[in-house]
Amino acid sequence: MVTEDRDGQAPDSEPDAGQPRQPGSRETSRSWDVVQLARHPQRPHATDYLERIIDRFREIHGDRAFGDDPAIVSGFGLLRGAPVMVIGQEKGRKTRQKLHRNFGMPRPEGYRKALRAMKLAEKFGRPIVTLLDTPGAYPGMDAEERGQAEAIARNLYEMAMLKVPFVAACIGEGGSGGALALGVGNRVLMLENSVYSVISPESCAAIVWRDSGKAELAAEALKLTAKDLEKLGLVDEIVPEPPGGAQNDVDQAARLLGDALARNLDDLSGMSPEQLVQDRYEKFRTMGGFFKNVDGS
């Protein structure tokens, strides 16, 4: 069934995936290079980070309504000794795993499981960490039937009022609403070579240039890199990666991510539940305010 992902692009089809261009190549290709790194076949996934930075991780399964979605991994454990609920999108590595994980494209039951995990953490006053890495929410018939849109909407709605510290980190591909559905944190971090976008460059190119081969142009136009998004004020912090990208040294990448998560959770730990809710509301209330009054005021 799943023969393609990323809106029609064959998985791992680029033979030169992740090989950054030679220095001196056009500046305009920079974003596309980052897209390639974000999708690099060896790039660490959520479970790679979990193994390295979460001690005594215990996975929890199921949405208590329909099923368990392997595209989302959730569970509790210790981050630098402190209890935390972690929810990550997992793409899977080899073919069998990729199929099992549905290439990291969650179905509604995945989002509902994630919300259940968040509510559980909130009930017992434990902070939440999410790791975003998905080409997008799964665009299939079954997902539509079970209310993909409703599941994502519900998460956006409920995340707004969670009374515990919440840090979201985009570790690879932040695929539109499918990523945002786990992404309404008090702090939003992005790994240096991750991307976060409203639409994949391929789909964007297919729509505006009617040619998915123009993805390189689209990647540039969409401003989807961590740097671009930090400039737009949509991301709080860029987490550095080892030279050349996280795939070159997974352990170090995990350490750097662990440091950033622990520090941000620590910053939030002094806030009361009301302050946390207020902080998150204000953050998203003022984010993306790119408009002006018609009269120029």
Binding site: G177, K223, F284
Partner: protein, 277 residues
């Protein structure tokens, strides 16, 4: 140039624009009749798309309402240029609709209840949501909460606006948070989904009503039908992602014909708040 010329144009009966062909059953309909029927085909019940202004006229009592907002325009944070600069698209859409963006909001009474009604304008870049739509809806929800006026949002949108990239995506979170605050204030919010409502709009405020109701036959979904067909490499069955399909799968409270919509919302507000004085 031919050596002969017709010196008279062929005789024509001037009925252009007076008759409209139904988009579903192809029956010719006298335009005035159609307008009297809230733009619903009397033969087959097909719901024509209507613009935001007509929608507010239709829902508010006696067609009387006062506009709120409407004075914001996007600052085009991404400087997005494709085959046609985004600024030009905005300009054209403004010429066509008379609006600064794909949203029109008003206050007035609906079946006697004080209400804020927001209608998306599909003719404005596919009703897509960027910074302005997100902000206007958020302000509308905040106003509704502060003044305890019921909120109705009529969706007609292809989703988030690609030309505003991530700026448009975060609007989903912003509007949803404002609706959660409205929920806490126990002020009613009714979401009306019309043809089409897809993508980031369905995946945020359109699915978050105390009641979610849709007009008959509207396309409603997260992924567009073409994307799904591409994913599963097969044709979708007829009626997939239409209102009736969503009703069957438990995603909607009701499918309500346009001609009964105002009354339906009025009944719901009566139930929530008690009869209007």
């Amino acid at each position: 140039m031919p050596w002969f010329r017709r010196d008279q144009k062929p005789k024509r009966v001037h009925t252009e624009g007076l008759w409209i062909k139904c988009g579903s059953c192809s029956a010719p309909i006298w335009k005035k009749d159609l307008e009297a029927q809230s733009m619903v085909c009397a033969k087959c019940g097909f719901h024509f798309k209507i613009n935001a202004r007509d929608r507010l006229d239709m829902l508010f009592d006696n067609g009387k309402w006062e506009q709120i907002g409407g004075n914001l325009r996007t600052t085009n944070a991404l400087r997005f240029n494709d085959r046609k600069p985004y600024e030009d698209r905005l300009h054209d859409a403004k010429q066509k609709t008379g609006l600064h963006d794909a949203i029109l909001c008003g206050v007035g009474t609906l079946e006697g209840h004080e209400a804020v009604v927001c209608a998306m304008e599909y003719r404005f870049i596919g009703g897509s949501m960027g910074a302005v739509v997100g902000e206007e809806l958020t302000r509308a929800a905040e106003l509704a909460a502060a003044d305890r006026k019921s909120l109705v949002i009529v969706s007609a949108s292809g989703g988030a606006r690609m030309m505003e990239g991530m700026v448009s995506l975060v609007q989903m979170a912003k509007v949803s948070a404002a609706l959660k605050a409205l929920d806490r204030a126990k002020v009613p919010y009714i979401s009306v989904l019309t043809d089409p409502t897809t993508g980031g709009v369905t995946a945020s405020f359109a699915m978050l009503g105390d009641l979610n109701v849709a007009e008959p036959g509207a396309l409603i979904g997260f992924a567009g039908p073409r994307v799904i067909e591409q994913t599963i490499s097969q044709k979708l069955p007829k009626g997939f992602q239409r209102s009736e399909f969503l009703l069957k799968h438990g995603m909607l409270d009701a499918v309500v014909p346009r001609t009964e919509l105002k009354q339906y919302i009025g009944n719901a507000l009566d139930f929530f708040l008690g009869p209007a004085s």
